[in-house]
Symmetry: C2
Subunit: 235 residues, 2 copies
Amino acid sequence: MRIGELSRRTGVSVPTIKFYVREGLLPPGRLSSPNQAHYDEGHERRLRLIRTLIGVGGLSVAAVADVLAAIDDPSQPVHKVLGVASTSIAGQGTDDGGAGGKARSGAGDGSGDGSGDGTDGSGNGERTAAVRAEVEALLARRGWRVSPHYPAVDSLVTAVAAMERLGHGDLVRLLDAYADAVEIIARADVEYVAERADRDGLVETVVVGTLLGDKIIAALRRIAQVDASARRFGD
Amino acid sequence: MRIGELSRRTGVSVPTIKFYVREGLLPPGRLSSPNQAHYDEGHERRLRLIRTLIGVGGLSVAAVADVLAAIDDPSQPVHKVLGVASTSIAGQGTDDGGAGGKARSGAGDGSGDGSGDGTDGSGNGERTAAVRAEVEALLARRGWRVSPHYPAVDSLVTAVAAMERLGHGDLVRLLDAYADAVEIIARADVEYVAERADRDGLVETVVVGTLLGDKIIAALRRIAQVDASARRFGD
DNA sequence: GAGAATGGAAAGTAGCACTATCCACTATCT
DNA sequence: AGATAGTGGATAGTGCTACTTTCCATTCTC
């Protein structure tokens, strides 16, 4: 098929498709003449994936490029790809919290206010270190064997530290219940992956399952909260 | 304190603070003279919350404005605020999936591409309806009593539909395990809220706990996946 | 009373995700 | 063979968001 049909089938405009090709999200079509290219269902599939990652997954175009590059690289082990996917998600949402002053720009900065300590938000550095220790204690308590450099550990530390900074440190008590719950989820995730021997598109499945899975879990939590609340306090 | 100190304490630049005041995220300081205003710890607290919502929570400035307005309105029941928070999160991530073409704008919409069906991506409308039925069956099976108009239900439907569209409909089988897990989480959440009688700042706690809680749960899931995977397949 | 800080308004900027416009072709219909 | 629509490739432009910069007439602080 040619670009027009690809556009019609996916609902993505022709200029946008061209844009994705330029950005390296979508491989170019196969040229049959200097200005005539053909696209196949692989392109269509990929394009749908891109739109979902951007639209439902909330990733930026650059993040999608990273994720897709990792998916396409057959030498990447699955967990590495997942790492890329996690940090790509995180890239648009897990950062800062009241320290330096820049959250989205990232131009020159150069550690402008690198005063020894104290002058800033609220002795941020040591706080984060304390939280990190707390988190590592949790992992040890759980017997979860994971490298402390795994990006998700950083996300966890960032989020917990943010809670404490806001004066909601009490919420940390919920972490053990969350860990219980998450074990169930992770077991199901891994079980699902384990039972399909076909490695074809497995990496994509993992990425989709993880990214969209997060959205699903968040939505289910809201719904379950409503129900639990109704149950606890009577209708 | 004056704006300079507020800035120093929180690490947010003076112009940015002014910007937040203009946008209605932060109430203006109390004027003592025509050009001299005072800010208190309430402002500081609020400013930290804003930065966290934007930075860690990934909300847009407009979404933060909505959430804060809901938090501040004492006539809003907690679940309504949560609804606003959910949709504010969703606003930057749960939409589209391959149909209309715009994903981030959201200006006038008015159900723009209401073509009967077919011409578009892949008979999207009926698919979504089927998914919705599936989701409602899940809720019924679980005995979760929640209005089907609750925004989280829409998010859930959107995410599941996106999975199916990508050819990963199999993943839906994980939903029951997720539901089990999420019940644990929601019970803990509600329990936590229930045991603090002080309604002071309770709404804020719920919002923070929900928004940051999602990040925490996602991070924990990644970590637990790594562990479960190692356990399943041997080191 | 001099220099720094403040409030308020308005204009400017950087990044992002597209979108529009061109151009020289090619495909297809008639 | 000619008209019309579609194509690849490149460059420029658009709209939106989240700030920044620049002003200026005060006001605080030393």
